[in-house]
């Protein structure tokens, strides 16, 4: 990799670092000890076999996972191989050996292997998913079978079937429905119990009540051989609601907040100056560590020897690396770019700045404003009303001396079954989340769409959010008038052709020129012969042997020359082309806009002025960002935080809603409520417009469901309604709700 000048586009290097498994690169050639330390927790006994569990972040498709599976299955002593595409995990059970052979085999296929720590939250969630799937399956199979039994009665129509057969069908249905009502529907009953214990009438209460009431009433009617049975409704209702729960659980599983920031950013081991490797968590204060060029710094400490540039963008948001020499401080998790360094650890793992950011994020989530979903707010009153009505009608008929008072009360509960109401929100979420995924937005939680609609202020991060986060050529200053601007860019581009460095990527002027005899001087620049002249591109002292100062402090300046200077070329992080339009649209829609940046005031104001933003706070640290958001929310704003980096993650935890713009870190993706995968800020607008549409649909659904129930209940109380009509109406209203939600399938109108 060319290091023409000590800088790196942080985003690019960070992405590559993670993708190429920088964390354990030294392990590949280094002694086995480092490798053992790294995978210590990933190999453990599992029953009679040993299990190796690793993460392979570059599994992108089914083909990759099948390739790995096939390769590993063919190896000796393998009992079982399982790959999982969604959480990018490979598990191998084997009977003999150390397990490192499998890691080598996966790496040989061209994949990155990262250690996978046994994570209790993950295990618990997997268990929950499995039990939910079993419940869903039981409800589905049960629903089909009960429908078969019920169909005989429906087909017979008014005349009915012979009482003996009918009783048989009812008993059979009772058996299956009991399984569904008490095994499959357990999550609803438990939720309802929890709600009641907290003196709260949540959505689970009417659901659980409806299932239990319908089942009880049907069972009584089966025993007494009278009235109607609703076993088919019990099963179908449970099944439909479980689908919603299952999907919700699935999205939670993928974006759970279990990832530790340190695990994703820090190497697993570090090398002491003695050559020994040491696990990252047990580095003592005073330990002297080697940090090769291109590696992440493993500890907060002081440089003892070496002269390099260090990328601290994770902490500052600054895209330009800092020069660090002996005696200067470095932070764990930043990237050493050019030259090897020797550092002395000054703190223990728990006190590293990056550990503190990680903790800050965890704490910040507690500040998230309380928010109850619309359906829950309505359910609270609705449930209370239903319960009042049911008990009132029971009391009335009891006083009237009607023996069927209990049965009538139950009928009211069944007829008022809030199927449509409880489906109204989850169905809309489910369709909306699927639609957004197709449009390039990953939403981790459906309630985010309701919260988003409620926001009135947007706080942006600068680098990587309002700007592209990539360097581009922003100016050329000619020093030798024999050359034009075009010549300079053409020569520079051909000199840098083929290098992966951010500066090389910024130089994209095509020409017919050819460069020969190209040399790269690490940390200084590149030289090569173009049109018969040996040009040099890089630091001023490399190009012409004297230290000249750059024209100004904006961006990064590098020099082109041949023994004498020809031109300065300026590189800067550019504002996204769509940022202006997006901000204008938001301003017109009445949002209060502001920008928080870790960058210096000068650069921050320049970009804010470009975009017409007034409210800018520059030079903020991650915890100041959190404080800023808490202050804004305390003054009544409901804030949407839009960011992309680790330094925004904690603030995202506090904000009412948060969106990450094509982040490279998994951690940021997990911290944010939604992630834009499109790398286009315009999607944010689409998302806001769509959230309004989602809320409209949810309101319509709830409105319809409540209206339907409120019309039917009085009829049921007075005994005006034939049960099968009520059942038909119930299904029809549920279908209407589902159909209405399906209108959300297209994100853009």
């Amino acid at each position: 990799m060319s290091q023409v000048i000590p800088l790196s586009d942080y985003k690019a290097s960070r992405g590559q670092a993670i993708a190429s498994g920088l964390a354990h690169e030294p392990d590949q050639e280094g002694p086995d000890q480092a490798r053992r330390l790294a995978f210590e927790d990933s190999i453990y006994a599992h029953g009679k076999t040993t299990r190796l569990s690793v993460r392979v972040p570059d599994i992108r498709c089914a083909a990759c996972s099948l390739k790995i599976e096939k390769q590993l299955s063919a190896m000796p002593d393998v009992e079982r191989v399982a790959t999982n595409l969604s959480d990018k995990r490979v598990v191998v059970d084997f009977s003999r050996g150390s397990g490192f052979g499998f890691i080598d085999a996966i790496e040989k296929l061209g994949f990155t292997v990262l250690p996978d720590r046994l994570n209790l939250a993950q295990v618990a969630l997997e268990q929950e998913r499995k039990s939910m799937l079993a419940r869903l399956g039981v409800a589905g199979i049960g629903m089909m079978q009960v429908m078969m039994y019920a169909l005989t009665g429906y087909l017979a129509g008014d005349s009915g079937i012979e009482p003996a057969y009918e009783a048989l069908m009812r008993w059979a249905s009772l058996g299956v429905a009991t399984l569904v009502a008490f095994y499959s529907a357990t999550p609803f009953h438990l939720g309802a119990l929890r709600d009641l214990r907290n003196r709260n009438l949540g959505m689970d209460v009417p659901v659980s009540l409806a299932i239990l009431a319908a089942w009880t009433l049907s069972m009584i009617h089966t025993l007494t051989q009278s009235g109607e049975v609703y076993f088919d409704s019990v099963c179908m209702f449970t099944f439909l609601l479980l689908i919603g729960r299952f999907i919700e659980l699935g999205s939670r599983e993928k974006y759970q907040h279990s990832q530790n920031l340190n695990d994703s950013l820090l190497p697993t081991s570090a090398q002491l100056t003695s050559g020994e490797y040491i696990a990252i968590r047990s580095i003592p204060v005073g330990a002297e560590l080697q940090v090769p060029a291109g590696q992440r710094i493993p500890a907060d400490g002081t440089i003892i020897s070496g002269d390099s540039s260090v990328d601290e963008a994770a902490f500052t948001g600054e895209s330009v690396p800092l020069r660090k020499r002996a005696g200067m401080q470095v932070l764990a998790g930043s990237v050493n770019l050019d030259q090897p360094l020797v550092i002395r650890a000054d703190k223990v793992w728990d006190d590293y700045v990056i550990t503190r950011i990680s903790d800050l994020f965890r704490e910040s989530s507690l500040y998230k404003p309380a928010f109850s979903v619309l359906a829950d707010r309505i359910a609270r009153y609705f449930v209370a009303i239903i319960l009042l009505m049911a008990s009132a009608s029971a009391g009335y008929w009891y006083l009237q001396g009607d023996a069927a008072w209990f049965s009538i009360a139950l009928s009211v509960l069944v007829v008022s079954c809030p199927c449509a109401l409880s489906l109204a929100t989850p169905v809309a979420y489910t369709v909306a989340i699927a639609a957004l995924r197709n449009a390039g937005v990953v939403v981790s939680n459906g309630a985010f769409l309701e919260r988003l609609n409620d926001t009135n202020a947007v706080v942006f991060d600068k680098t990587g959010t309002l700007t592209t986060g990539k360097l581009t050529v922003s100016g050329v200053k000619i020093l030798d008038s024999a050359f034009g601007e075009q010549d300079v860019l053409e020569i520079a581009s051909v000199l840098e052709q083929g290098y992966a460095h951010p500066i090389a990527r910024a130089l994209t002027t095509h020409s017919g020129r050819i460069c020969s005899d190209r040399h790269m001087e690490p940390g200084a620049g590149v030289s090569g012969e173009v049109d018969g002249v040996v040009f040099r591109l890089g630091k001023a002292d490399f190009v012409c042997g004297i230290a000249e100062t750059a024209p100004d402090k904006n961006g990064i300046w590098i020099m082109l020359g041949y023994h004498r200077p020809v031109a300065w070329i300026q590189f800067a992080d550019q504002v996204r082309p769509e940022s202006g339009t997006v901000l204008n649209t938001l301003r017109k829609a009445g949002y209060r806009l502001s920008m928080l940046t870790g960058d210096g005031a000068h650069e921050g104001r320049r970009i804010a002025a470009d975009l017409g933003l007034d409210d800018v706070t520059a030079g903020v640290t991650p915890d100041q960002k959190v404080q800023q958001l808490i202050n804004r929310q305390a003054s009544g704003d409901r804030v949407l935080m839009v960011g992309d980096g680790i330094n925004d993650a904690a603030a995202m935890g506090v904000a009412q809603a948060s969106v990450a713009v094509s982040p490279v870190d998994v951690f940021v993706q997990q911290a944010a409520d939604a992630t834009l995968l499109t790398d286009n800020l315009q999607t944010l607008n689409t998302l806001l417009v769509f959230s309004r549409k989602v809320n409209r649909v949810i309101r319509q659904n709830i409105g319809w469901a409540v209206a339907y129930n409120m019309t039917v209940i009085p009829l049921a109380i007075t005994g005006q309604i034939v049960p099968w009509v009520a059942a038909l109406g119930m299904s029809a209203s549920s279908l209407l709700v589902v159909a209405n939600a399906n209108r959300l399938y297209k994100v853009a109108d």
Partner: protein, 58 residues
């Protein structure tokens, strides 16, 4: 039609077997990664392929 008194219990027994096998397969990770299985058919074993080709040619 009295046979229905036998057939309905039989159907219940079949249902129980279906439920048992479903729960068994969930517990044994058969549903762990549903995306992958759809593609498995597209990735036939290479060696087998070439042998089949050879057989076809001969």
């Amino acid at each position: 039609m009295e046979v229905i008194f036998v057939l309905i219990p039989v159907s219940l027994a079949i249902i129980l077997m279906a439920l048992w096998s479903f729960i068994w397969s969930v517990r044994n990770d058969q549903f762990e990664d549903l995306d992958k299985e759809a593609y498995r058919i597209l990735f036939d074993d290479k060696d087998q392929d070439s042998e089949e080709v050879k057989q076809e040619q001969s």
